[in-house]
């Protein structure tokens, strides 16, 4: 099981903000491909420049394994202040 969170414009594109994927794929890239497979617009948005992923609240560059109950967040470029 993995909990997936979308932020910023990604949740607008997908039409959802949070989702449980069960069973969870073994890796971040496999998870990204899975949620993108059923939604080409989301797949494109997830692949856009500057989109980052965090696994269990740690920013990850490249692929990463997903543990049991992982929290995976996809985040467009950040813009505070």
């Amino acid at each position: 099981m993995a909990r997936v969170l979308l932020f910023g414009r990604l949740s607008d594109v997908a039409g959802w903000r949070e989702r449980i994927i069960d069973p969870a794929p073994a890796s971040l890239f496999a998870l990204r491909d899975l949620i993108g497979a059923e939604d080409p617009a989301l797949a494109e948005a997830l692949g856009a420049k500057g989109v980052q992923a965090a696994v269990d609240r740690v920013i990850v560059r490249g692929d990463a394994p997903l543990g049991a109950g992982a929290e995976v967040a996809f985040m467009p470029p950040m813009s505070g202040g």
């Binding site: 607008d12 965090a54 609240r57 950040m78 813009s79 505070g80 202040g81």
Partner: protein, 153 residues
């Protein structure tokens, strides 16, 4: 002190609390970011955070500033949710013995908050909604601090 909040806050009241009782501080710098109406084009700014992660990342940004500058204290308050034009979005204050450190630390904190704190912002106006991404200048402003240390740009 680091705080995220839904409710509006008053920057002057925060500065009053931050400056009080400082008999060994020479310099207090504050930055307040305000929501702009853009001539009526923006009715609300909507700020989204990643609860838990956002606070932790702001904590890392604060620690980096503390490690780099001789600060006595710092404060960061950031709004989330719906913000009306003229309301404060963010308040940063720094306290130091001398003014150069207080200025540079506040500037540094804002540059990193702008480009590396997990917030996503959209403007809501008469013509609908629009996501705001960091500008090229926001990114180059944060990069200044890396270049000054001789790190790769």
């Amino acid at each position: 002190m680091i705080r995220l909040q839904q409710d509006p806050f008053e920057p002057g009241a925060l500065l009053t609390g931050f400056s009080a009782g400082r008999s060994e501080t020479g310099a207090v710098v504050s930055f307040t970011g305000l929501a702009r109406a853009s001539g009526g084009g923006v009715e609300r700014l909507v700020l989204e955070a990643y609860p838990g992660f956002t606070e932790a990342q702001i904590g890392r940004i604060a620690e980096a500033a503390r490690a780099r500058f001789s600060l006595q204290d710092l404060m960061i308050v950031h709004r989330v949710g719906e913000i009306a034009p003229g309301e404060a979005i963010v308040f940063v204050a720094t306290a130091a013995v001398h003014r150069r450190e207080a200025f540079e630390a506040a500037d540094h904190l804002m540059d990193y908050l702008k480009s590396q704190a997990p917030f996503w912002k959209k403007e809501r106006g008469p013509d609908g909604e629009r996501w705001i991404e960091p500008t090229a200048r926001d990114i180059s402003d944060a990069a200044r601090w890396e270049q000054e240390r001789g790190e790769a740009p």
